[in-house]
Symmetry: C2
Subunit: 346 residues, 2 copies
């Protein structure tokens, strides 16, 4: 096949920890892509905010630029890989929309930008007939986005719930197993790399809320206004409640369609049933349940974080955008009611 | 969109219980397919072995024929839906290959035919540039085939294991929870619809072995000769072992790649670890674990059987074949060694 491979130009939007890992993964798999797909992923140009910054990947053969139009308007770029986690979500949104308007397929990772602007981005992808994937944004290695995109066609997804935040899982399970306080557990989580220095979005539930919003779009084809949902912080859990032998508490999300065609939902700490499968979720694993009218209950489990893991999933997305001609279904805004944790069981 | 829809001609190969459900599902979703995809799935002709047989679905506007060439060589058919479970696997294979040779996309369900002839069918699909899907053949509603097809690209799947046979799950859990004998449990399974009249393939492990073979092709890109594997029957389980409080025994499959580049595998009853997630599998649910080098451990859980469930999954496959341009990776024959159940833990 050598010399006959079809060249697919790749442009990176952002080259931080995630972006560097994806770039390495693409380089490592050069022969594989050539052999199996008769293609070559060629990364020519990368948008960064600071050209002088030291990176974990060799960029000697790549053009680094602080001008995003050099990527999104570049006629030699067919696919953009967005890894702008460090940037603001408006900047990310503008870059992504620029790419779509110029007919580039796009593999995204920034969950906050997707949570807020996802409907607009999806509509633009449909309109400009480009392929859009964002598996890495929710549940890490779990193929939940593609499953919701591809499954239960003509069926009706009635419930989606689960655990999608590793920081809170680490804290709550450490409080339980080690009989320590919230503050001690948070400190340990930071030391072990399960929590960022500023973990308030994880603890307060906003990270999980963002991920729930992304999943509801794909699974139920609805857009919930996050301002309508008040997540419950795990900070205020009574340390005594985790000191008893029995209860396992996890930060969960729960969303169900109501008969009135709106959504009941909850984000926050929940005591799990004694036979709950969610009890198996520890460390940086996530687990997501999806219930549909005809196909019943499905569950997905896997690592929710990790650089190598994220790179692997974004590489799968990259392969997918060049092989598929997927069209997203229309997403409608929907009202939602906040449940309290004692009105449902997990 | 009315009147402007692109018509996709569908030809059924077989119209038994599964086929009838799929046909109904397609009819029920006529408006959905038109609205979302601007397409119409039009079922014109159906291959059956007995035209006079009474069916669960209205066939008044459909041409039933016992001549399979009328389907597989029909220029108005773009997708064939294979539901020939009742037929012999050679007949199924011939029909499927006829369809592929005539450029039809194909959605299959017959696991036995896929287990034995899967490599040839996959190679033919690649060669004739048609789309092939068979999600319903393993794990029912679990999107395991598409996940293995789409995930861990350039990664290496090192282990696949799990529970994929509802009959054996029902029998073993009934023996445990009700303290009854194997024969009593089998009788109950038949009464409740969890077992066929002739359940020997389920009990002896051949059904699970067939499904393992299908998964190994997709996940590890290898073909194991089923003659090299001796599944262990669940029939010979000592009734006493299930009478104790502790052990939960399930019929499992387990396959791991070795350093010598062959496969170690096992099919049969296995005592589950006390904290095994597989313990949550009961009734007609299945659960499958996949371990990869970079993306780590993933698990999938869902209903393994059911008419409506199977129809839903085959309908998803149908939507997929008209949206994707997937190419299977090359599958290589591989040697395998039979493990005994005490050499690994699940």
């Amino acid at each position: 096949m050598k010399g006959m491979s079809k060249v697919i130009g790749i442009g990176f939007l952002g080259l931080g920890i995630v972006g560097s890992q994806v770039l390495s993964y693409i380089k490592e798999n050069k022969d594989y892509v050539e052999e199996v797909y008769g293609m070559e992923f060629l990364t020519k140009s990368v948008y960064v905010r600071d050209i002088t910054k030291k990176r974990d990947v060799d960029t000697s053969d790549i053009y680094l630029t602080t001008d995003v139009t050099k990527i999104v308007e570049n006629p030699n770029v067919q696919v953009c890989i967005e890894c702008m986690g460090g940037a603001g979500m408006e900047e990310t949104y503008d870059a992504v929309m620029g790419a779509i308007h110029n007919g580039k397929h796009i593999v995204m990772s920034s969950k906050k930008c997707l949570a807020v602007y996802g409907t607009k981005i999806i509509e633009a992808a449909n309109q400009y007939n480009v392929q859009l994937r964002f598996e890495a944004s929710v549940g890490g290695c779990i193929p939940i986005c593609r499953s919701l995109m591809q499954m239960s066609k003509g069926d009706e997804v009635t419930k989606i719930y689960g655990i999608v935040n590793a920081t809170s899982t680490y804290i709550l399970s450490a409080m339980e197993s080690k009989k320590i306080t919230f503050d001690e557990a948070l400190q340990q989580a930071k030391e072990k790399g399960f929590a960022e220095n500023n973990s308030s979005e994880d603890i307060l539930g906003f990270d999980t809320l963002n991920k729930m919003r992304i999943l509801l779009r794909l699974g139920m084809k609805v857009d919930v206004d996050c301002n309508d949902v008040n997540p419950v912080s795990i900070e205020n859990i009574n340390d005594e409640s985790t000191n008893r032998e029995e209860p396992i508490i996890r930060q969960v999300f729960y969303a169900e369609k109501t008969m009135q065609d709106d959504i009941n939902c909850f984000v926050g700490p929940q005591i799990l049933k004694s036979d709950s499968m969610l009890k198996n979720v520890s460390e940086n694993y996530n687990m997501i349940f999806v219930e549909s009218k005809h196909s019943g209950l499905r569950a997905y489990y896997g690592k929710g974080a990790g650089g190598r893991e994220t790179a692997s999933v974004m590489f799968d997305d990259l392969i997918d955008v060049v092989q598929s001609n997927y069209r997203f279904e229309e997403i409608k805004p929907i009202g939602c009611n906040c449940l309290s944790g004692d009105t449902f069981e997990l």
